[in-house]
């Protein structure tokens, strides 16, 4: 059986001199949480939007392969994609306030997607919405269904977004920084919920985050993105125990860990900033910030395998 989502050599550009995604590949299996991690501007969100075919105007995607449950997404027209979106593949965005319509009640927004895709009655859709609100830990779902987004706290809104994404029983859920705008206490609650739903429903979850703490706690598999490329990919424990790409190593050193570091010791940091890389760029995108870079890094980057299922893009020996 083919994997749930297969992305091979995805390229995304917006017509200018910058390539947003440069040959990124990743696979999400059924029942797996796959985290896509990297800094702002590395192409994480664009990758997700390219999968959903929701790129902003002017965005152009190509790929060797882009398939969902074996179906070629590149061959689907707008109608075909609209049939999948919100249905078998759903997405949650970072800011629940801007992704909910302030003029409609929670109930009408939640039921719309199901009535459209599943052609069910309002009654059935409302029952499902209430049931899902309960499952995402919202007390008094009946009351919430009649309320407007502004009447809910940030944490509640994000729960509503999750419940809404689950209305049509998706196989794949893409969550783009779903907890970044929330307090740490609420973040923990939402992530617990996502992990639990992922297990119970056997979802494939592609979770986009910049937070390595989140990655460590919820991911089965991690792909690290830098300047539009997936530079390292491995099972979570493997990646944290044995990071091979200098960028991954640098990222891990930057994270302050409570109780694990000395106060006066400076934190590890990565000098410089993410470069803008245009079409036709050769060599390693990280070389200007890398302390191991040499002349060969400007020409080519080998794809290496550190262990089965652990790949990285760097000349450094496995």
């Amino acid at each position: 059986m083919s994997a749930l989502l297969e992305v091979e050599k995805l390229e995304v550009g917006f017509g200018g001199n910058t390539s947003a995604v440069r040959g990124a590949s990743l696979t999400v299996e059924r029942g797996e949480t796959h985290c896509l991690v990297g800094e702002s501007g590395c192409g994480k969100s664009v990758t997700a939007l390219a999968v959903m075919n929701l790129l902003a105007r002017g965005g152009h995607r190509t790929a060797q392969r882009l398939s969902f449950q074996g179906e070629d997404l590149l061959k689907l027209d707008d109608r075909g994609m609209a049939r999948l979106r919100g249905n078998a593949m759903a997405m949650i965005f970072q800011e629940p306030m801007t992704s909910l319509n302030p003029a409609y009640t929670i109930g009408s927004q939640m039921t719309e997607v199901m009535r459209r895709h599943k052609k069910v009655s309002q009654r059935i859709a409302i029952d499902r919405a209430a049931d899902l609100l309960g499952r995402v830990g919202i007390t008094a779902p009946g009351l919430r269904l009649g309320q407007f987004p502004h009447q809910l706290s940030g944490g509640l809104r994000q729960r509503v977004m999750i419940a809404m994404a689950l209305m049509c029983e998706p196989q794949l859920l893409i969550a783009d920084e779903p907890t970044t705008a929330l307090d740490v206490t609420v973040q923990a609650q939402i992530l617990r919920l996502l992990a639990q739903l992922q297990r119970d429903l056997g979802l494939g979850l592609l979770l986009i985050t910049h937070d390595l703490g989140i990655v460590a706690r919820v991911a089965h598999r991690v792909s690290v993105m830098y300047a539009g490329e997936v530079v390292e990919s491995a099972a979570t424990a493997q990646l944290f125990a044995d990071p091979r790409h200098p960028y991954t190593q640098g990222l891990l050193r930057c994270v302050p860990v409570p109780g694990k570091q000395r106060q006066d010791e400076p934190l590890g940091s990565i000098p410089g900033t993410v470069p803008r890389i245009g079409p036709g760029f050769e060599g390693c995108g990280f070389r200007d910030r890398c302390s191991f870079a040499d002349a060969t890094c400007a020409r080519s980057v080998p794809h290496q395998v550190a262990a089965p299922g652990h790949d990285y893009l760097c000349r450094l020996a496995p």
Binding site: E39, S40, G137, I138, T139, S153, G154, G155, L156, D183, V184, T185, V186, Q187, A188, Q189, L191, R192, A195, H210, D211, L212, G213, I214, V215, A216, R217, V218, T236, A237, F240, A241, G250, L251, L252, R253, C254, V255, P256, V257, P258, G259, K260, Q261, Q263, D264, P266, L267, G268, S269, I270, P271, T273
Partner: protein, 320 residues
């Protein structure tokens, strides 16, 4: 702290309440932002303030900066009441660094002029002196001199935050109030900025009030930590003591919700339920009791006393 040194920052029973208009039919609401807060920060110290959104952290920062006047209580900076000082004197003593380097810098003003503004506002510096100090400050925060002629939009987030730091330090203040200074930044850039702030504090002998929702960051930079909940400081201790021996159930929940990069531990159950704190509707008794995993009936009626601890204290009925 010895009794002879004047604290860099001292608050005595400071309170601040806002009135929020209730709309056409609604009643006005009283939002209690800061309620009976007292503490002192010794010179050269770093007080970290943590808590969820709406707990009053940013109001506290604005009160200490003199941008808001307290309804009750006293705020003194280096022994002088902040409300008695004029703006220029205040600016020479205490300066802010805010969270969002995208909105805290005027997009139409060149970097050099942004950094020069506090000096110009004083009205006592010559042009040459201003230029010299701006150059010195830009290089001090790690910005190449030619960047002075650029506009904020041409800079990355980390570079903009360096500009904000340069602007805060150009008058050589004694105290800097940092309100979530790295929250809008990537982790690699966050580390650069935290290292810069630590280095500047050491070299210039600064005192920081450091507000953050990120406990790992606070542990790294602070010498003492105050935990705020609905306008009150519910626990305050030296950093080591707070992180190793948290006593208040809210502090414990905050610490439990920190997701350290340790695979296999899963996401903890912080046990706070889904009741959200509302500063316009403060619960009676202990204000944390509706979310507290160990609350007893008396927590809903009795006000918790302050139990003193070395370097601070804890406000909970259930700790001895």
């Amino acid at each position: 702290m010895s009794t002879t040194t004047t604290p860099a920052i001292e608050l005595r029973s400071v309170g601040k309440t806002f009135r929020v208009a209730g709309g056409v039919l609604g009643k006005d609401r009283r939002v209690v932002a800061v309620d009976g807060v007292s503490f002192a920060v010794p010179p050269g110290g770093v007080l970290g303030v943590v808590g969820e959104s709406g707990c009053g952290k940013s109001t506290l920062a604005r009160l200490i900066l003199g941008l808001l006047e307290p309804d009750s209580g006293d705020i003194a900076v280096e022994g002088q009441r902040i409300v008695d000082m004029d703006r220029k004197a205040r600016a020479r003593l205490i300066q802010p660094v805010f969270q969002d380097p995208f909105s805290s810098l005027n997009p139409l003003t060149r970097i050099r002029d942004i950094v020069a503004m506090p000096l110009q506002a004083q009205g006592t510096f010559s042009r040459a002196e201003i230029a010299r100090r701006v150059d010195e400050m830009l290089s001090r925060v790690g910005l190449p001199g030619e960047m002075g002629n650029r506009l904020p939009a041409e800079l990355s987030g980390g570079q903009r935050q360096r500009v904000a730091i340069a602007r805060a330090l150009v008058l050589r203040p004694r105290i800097v109030v940092c309100d979530e200074p790295t929250s809008a930044l990537d982790v690699s850039v966050q580390a650069q900025i935290l290292n810069l702030l630590a280095e500047l504090r050491r070299d210039l002998g600064l005192t920081y009030l450091f507000i953050s929702h990120n406990l790992a960051v606070v542990e790294h930079v602070a010498s003492e930590v105050a935990v705020m909940y609905l306008g009150r400081i519910v626990e305050k201790k030296p950093t080591q003591a707070l992180f190793h021996d948290p006593e208040h159930p809210y502090t414990k929940a905050l610490l439990a919700s920190v997701l350290t990069p340790e695979p296999g531990l899963g996401v903890p159950d912080v046990g706070l339920g889904d009741v959200m704190p509302d500063p316009a509707n403060i619960p009676p008794g202990c204000r944390f009791h509706p979310r507290c995993p160990i609350a007893e009936p008396r927590c809903a009626t009795e006000t918790p006393p302050l139990r003193p601890r070395p370097g601070g204290g804890v406000e909970c009925l259930l700790v001895p």
